[in-house]
Amino acid sequence: MLKIDSVSKTFHAGTVNEVRALQDVSLSIEDGCFTGIIGTNGSGKSTLLNAVAGTFTPDAGSIHLAGHDITRWPEYKRAALIGRVFQDPFAGTAPDMSIAENIAIAMKRGQHRSFGFAVTRAFKDDVADRVRTLKMGLEDRLDNPIGTLSGGQRQALTLLMAVWTRPKLLLLDEHTAALDPKSAAKVAELTKIIIAREKLTALMVTHSMQQAVDLPDRIIMMHRGAIVEDYQDERKQRVRVPDLMATFDRVQKRELFDESVAGMLKAQYC
């Protein structure tokens, strides 16, 4: 279970560029729950994900994952518990290393990296079996440098690498946003299948409301560094894209509702 407790983060504090990226955010996610985070640009959705991933340390609050207080853990240490897929399809893999070698690195996530050979015959057979489930024909190209693959293929492999050790939490940071529509649909489908098959706890930031409706079990909506909406259970099942749009609209309307509007309405609302 992931438990985020009153986490705050301000970037460039005390300067003109001060951004209050997270404001007292609390969120807990049950094991096996696939949660989507949506929000406008700068709403703090990616910052929240990065807070969990450990890219920075929050100014206040705590983060617990699977019984560990990981608030102060460095990024690489959290990787023992967390699998990640980034927006940039090139960010999750080492381009000049082969598919098998990349997967070998992922396989040892959270374990001691020994001086034994990384890619053995038996390991490659295992890799081929699991890569075959992607249905991209990559099982025959395990020795090819990953840099020769398309963005969609790389992202699918990154996803496979992220879940290879069955992490306590899978973080997906707009992982289909930089792909062409067809690859994006393919990776989204794989995401759904893999998370369901491995019964993973996952947190996905997405810009696509359709994706938020289609994939996760729960939707969190963020705005200005705070959670403004949380669709769970039957509310999540009911929600459709227009409902999410309406919710965004509502949040924005509330923002535009300032003191001058209140004054105008005082005179006219009767």
Partner: protein
């Protein structure tokens, strides 16, 4: 012929420098200036120990460890204290200048009539050739001493190359390569990037110091100035080596780096033979590296300009 043997031997010794720099510059992409200091460190430690009567093999080992220590410090300056990578290297290199003077106690130590690592090999050759001082190879008379140094260097270079190559295919080595290729990825895969950098720099400078140790024994002296420009030589060798093998796997690239170093030494030997002023050597090398660095971009631009011009004419 002794010129060729000399260039080969020098090339084999310096290929250890190139391999070390291959780890730092190419594998983890760290512009490590420590090299100029750590090669001298290796030479000074070995010279001192050999003069003091220690086994040359032990001297070599201690030199390697000394280089590794120097590399770690550079790495720690960079990772722990967030000093820029070039500045970290410069700080360590500058510090090493004094350290080397301290180690040697003076600015140079001559190694005359001492036991070096090739002494054993020399004895072996003397035995099989029945005390002849020269052997006949393809019609050339080659001094046994030169041959022994050559063989020893070759053995060490090959041993190190095989070891390095093997290491890079282990779990740890794969992670190291990935750390240079995509730091964000390896962090997400649970690798401590900082540890990787420190470890790689230790390994790289260990090899560089090993090269220094062999160089001192081969040249017959250690000098506090001997490291100047070594980094650029190493870089030039790597560039030549990569050009030789093209885009290839790790094993081939390592072989290429060794061949590149040898080829580079041969070119220098030939140039010197043709009357290149030795004082100009570093300038020429620097210019060569400069050209190798800018040429690809420059040629690309040029060809675009030409084709653009052609299109313009066509239109």
């Amino acid at each position: 012929m002794s010129l060729v043997i000399g260039a080969f031997t020098m090339g084999l010794i310096l290929s250890l420098l190139s391999l070390g720099m291959f780890i730092s510059f190419r594998m983890i992409r760290f512009t490590d200036i420590t090299v100029d200091g750590s090669i001298t460190l290796g030479a000074s430690i070995s010279a001192l120990m050999i003069v003091e009567g220690y086994s040359p093999w032990l001297a070599m080992l201690v030199s390697t460890l000394g280089g590794a220590l120097a590399g770690s410090v550079t790495g720690i300056l960079y990772t722990r204290f967030k000093i820029q990578e070039i500045l970290s290297g410069i700080l360590m290199m500058t510090a090493l200048y004094s350290i080397n003077l301290r180690v040697m106690g003076k600015s140079n130590i001559p190694l005359l009539d001492v036991t070096t690592i090739s002494t054993g090999m020399e004895g072996f050759f003397e035995k099989i050739t029945a005390t002849a001082s020269k052997v006949d190879i393809l019609g050339w008379q080659v001094p046994i001493g030169d041959l022994a140094v050559f063989m020893t260097s070759a053995m060490i270079a090959i041993f190190v190359a095989v070891l390095l190559c093997g290491f890079l295919f282990t779990h740890a080595g794969t992670a190291l390569r990935a750390a240079g290729s995509n730091p964000q990825m390896v962090r997400a895969q649970g690798v401590n990037n900082n540890t990787m950098i420190v470890f790689s720099l230790a390994m790289a400078n260990g090899l560089v110091a090993l090269a220094g140790s062999l160089l001192a024994q081969y040249q017959g002296f250690a000098d506090v100035q001997m490291g100047i420009g070594m980094m650029v030589w190493g870089l030039a060798s790597i560039i030549i080596g990569e050009a030789l093998v093209g885009k290839a796997g790790i094993g081939l690239t390592i072989a290429g780096v060794i061949l590149g170093t040898i080829l580079f030494r041969l070119l220098i030997a030939i140039a010197l033979r043709w009357g290149l002023n030795p004082n100009d050597l570093k300038l020429v090398t620097a210019f060569f590296v400069f050209a190798a660095l800018v040429a690809p971009a420059w040629f690309g631009m040029l060809s675009r300009k030409i084709s653009g011009g052609l299109n313009y004419v066509k239109n």
